[in-house]
């Protein structure tokens, strides 16, 4: 084995592509790596995943607060929010990504104004008023919620965020006690009885996932339902998702499925669709939980190009060692007798 090869292998433990995550962590006969593919293009923001996660994992409530910023009342991932559904309100037309449930031919205002006067529904005969004319029931000259082409001006992006179960997990690498470990499924889990509450993993996570619970001082995050996986069940969030926005399975299979979905969306004109966290060549070696997004990652509160902090760690130790030597030299210089 050449020197370069050795270096590359060693580097593979801390950053860069790592095809056999569980194997590198000492599981010789590991099952395939499991993960999430969260297809946000079909998320309806029902938050069933948040609730299911809390219920199954007995995560305590973290306050129901109206934040005043959007319909999102959980705001972000934390010690007591392991799945978080983001609601992004955008002044941007829909593109073409609505599922086939178009009701362009139904005039809801006409239907509303007819309520109570006529027992019959507007039926298929109701039509959109001619362009320029206010729909029946809407005051003329005021803002209509419907733009002239019949599409609403606002679009909602909804996305269920979760721990990424990185190939190179900074939280796991910096944990001083070994409380965080890699499971045989390639996921990252905190052992709550070992965690000593130092909180080092919290600022280490490039995604802002793991956090400290105020009352017990220990850290908590998504376990990818390690207890369910062990007995062949799927995680609670994926199980409860009514639109299959959250898909669970072997990571390889999910990647294939995701590539197909992106191609499908591109073909139907949704050119904004892109995968996030799927590439094994990215700064964290690829995520065990990746996403299909309809806008830039930062719009969803995700970092555009995260890098695991341990990539620079050998360099950091080198600089610290040199600084320590400098300090020693400085002390020697302080004691060196100077000519007067």
């Amino acid at each position: 084995m050449s020197g370069d090869q050795v270096r590359a292998d060693r580097a593979g433990l801390w950053f860069g592509p790592q095809p056999d995550v569980a194997g590198a962590s000492g599981y010789p006969d590991a099952p395939p790596r499991m993960g999430f593919f969260t297809d946000t293009s079909v998320c309806i923001g029902c938050k069933a995943c948040e609730v299911a996660c809390k219920e199954w994992n007995a995560v305590p409530e973290d306050g129901l607060e109206l934040t005043g910023m959007s319909y999102d009342n959980t705001q972000g991932l934390g010690a007591d929010t392991w799945r978080h559904v983001a609601f992004i309100e955008q002044r941007k037309p829909f593109g073409g990504q609505q599922p086939g449930v178009s009701h362009d031919d139904v005039d809801v205002f006409a239907a509303a104004s007819a309520l109570g006067t006529d027992a019959a529904s507007p039926g298929p005969g109701a039509t959109t008023p001619p362009a320029g004319a206010a729909p029946a029931g809407a005051p003329a000259g005021e803002i209509s919620p419907v733009s002239p082409d019949g599409r609403t001006e606002l679009r909602w992006l909804m996305a269920s965020d979760v721990c990424k179960h990185c190939t190179h997990a900074a939280c796991l690498d910096v944990c001083p006690t070994g409380a965080l470990f890699r499971t045989e499924f390639g996921t990252v889990v905190v052992q709550e009885d070992v965690c000593n509450g130092c909180g080092y993993c919290v600022p280490a996570c490039p995604y802002g996932v793991i956090d400290q619970r105020k009352d017990d001082g220990r850290v908590w995050k998504c376990t990818l339902c390690y207890d369910r996986l062990g007995v062949g069940m799927e995680p609670a969030c994926a199980k409860s998702c009514p639109t299959e926005s959250i898909q669970f399975g072997p990571l390889e299979e999910l990647r294939e499925r995701a590539a197909g979905r992106v191609a499908q969306l591109h073909a139907s004109g949704v050119t904004d669709a892109r995968l996030y966290g799927e590439s094994p060549d990215d700064g964290v070696g690829g995520d065990g939980a990746f996403f299909l997004l309809l806008d830039e990652p930062e719009v969803y509160g995700l970092p555009p190009d995260p890098v695991v902090t341990t990539r620079d760690l050998p360099d950091m130790w080198r600089h610290a060692a040199m600084a320590a030597v400098s300090l020693g030299a400085l002390a020697v210089a302080s004691f060196a007798r100077r000519p007067r």
């Binding site: 607060e65 005043g68 910023m69 006690t177 970092p303 995260p306 950091m316 610290a320 004691f335």
Partner: protein, 348 residues
């Protein structure tokens, strides 16, 4: 429940924007704050280091979870570690060159500082038994774990050296302990820079190349300050020189660090961190000057003033760096903008 973040003026601690913005051009224009407190120097005419940042975010919410560390515990821990580590060097040097009046305060200082820093660490963890969890494993990827091992080696040596100095017994053991503490001391003073840098916090991580030197210099000035305040002028020569050299190392490398860091250096120039770091600069530079002057004039009061200035200057630096990092984690700009630029550059 009154712990809501919503006030009459809007969300507390949030940007005023209410919409999640889309597209590369969306975003907030940053206002450059006035540079107050230049103290009649007429301003140094520092140029803005980075262009105006434009970026998108999720309602201005942070991307990272901010450090949960309590400032007094952890910034205090960083400071005390530097003070202890560099004091051990002074103690060893004083022992070799026959300066008992310098050796004693340095040994006592190292022992006291390292004990207090362990108290601060345990206080942050919650209970003493949790410190032992750190020694379950040995993990070079975790600076906190490595630091715990270094401390477990260093603390008994520093305490032993001080105990021997006080009791006057077992002098051979005492000089061995002093030498051992001096070997581990620099590591105690500089590993804390890696502790901060090995995180995703932009203002800590981006400075990883220079931060150990800044901390080394800061540790040297603190130790020199303590020694100056407690040592008669005749034996305090090395402390005075250490003050001058340490201040030069700290201030020089800190400037270089800010210069190279780009956008994430901004938090060093804002708010609480700015005030602390300005104070650190003034106190350290002033303290070093006073230290040199106290040697010329042989004035105890000058030496005391120099010592106080150097000790508080070093503390202000650690707290300043700590708060700057927390501020950079709280604002998504410092996470998103550099990453977006990197991504755009890579995609050509």
């Amino acid at each position: 429940m009154s712990d809501s973040d919503v006030t009459r003026e809007g969300l507390r601690g949030e940007r005023t924007q209410r919409e999640a913005l889309t597209g590369a051009k969306a975003g907030r224009r940053r206002h450059r704050r006035g540079r107050g407190g230049r103290g009649g120097r007429g301003g140094r005419g520092e140029q803005p280091m980075v262009p105006e940042a434009e970026f998108s975010s999720y309602y201005g919410k942070p991307v990272l979870n901010k450090p949960t560390w309590k400032p007094l515990d952890i910034a205090g821990y960083l400071y005390l570690g530097g003070l202890a580590g560099a004091s051990s060097l002074l103690a060893a040097g004083a022992g070799v060159t026959g300066r008992p009046a310098l050796a004693r305060p340095a040994k006592l200082g190292a022992a006291g500082a390292i004990s207090l820093s362990l108290v601060a660490l345990v206080h942050d963890l919650g209970r003493p038994a949790r410190f032992l969890n750190m020694l379950r494993v040995f993990k070079p990827t975790s600076p906190m774990n490595v630091g715990s091992w270094v401390l477990s080696g260093y603390a008994p040596l520093a305490l032993g050296a001080a105990a021997v100095d006080l009791t006057g017994r077992a002098r051979r053991v005492g000089s061995l302990a002093t030498a051992g503490a001096a070997v581990l001391g620099p590591a105690v003073a500089t590993y804390t820079a890696v502790l901060l840098a090995d995180t995703a916090v932009p203002s800590w991580h981006e400075g990883y190349r220079e931060l150990p030197y800044v901390f080394a210099g800061s540790g040297a000035t603190a130790a020199a300050g303590l020694a100056l305040a407690a040592t008669p002028a005749a034996q305090a020569g090395p402390a005075r020189r250490m003050a001058a050299l340490g201040a030069a190392l700290e201030l020089g490398t800190f400037q270089a660090m800010k210069h190279r860091m780009g956008l994430s250096a901004e938090t060093f120039e804002q708010g609480k961190a700015h005030r602390l770091l300005r104070a650190a600069e003034t106190l350290t530079a002033g303290g070093a000057a006073l230290a040199v002057l106290s040697g010329r004039l042989r004035d105890r009061r000058l030496a005391l003033a120099a010592g106080a200035a150097l000790l508080s200057g070093s503390a202000a630096l650690r707290f300043g760096v700590f708060h700057a990092g927390v501020a950079s984690a709280k604002d998504p700009k410092y996470t998103v903008v550099p990453q977006r630029e990197r991504l755009t550059a890579r995609e050509g």
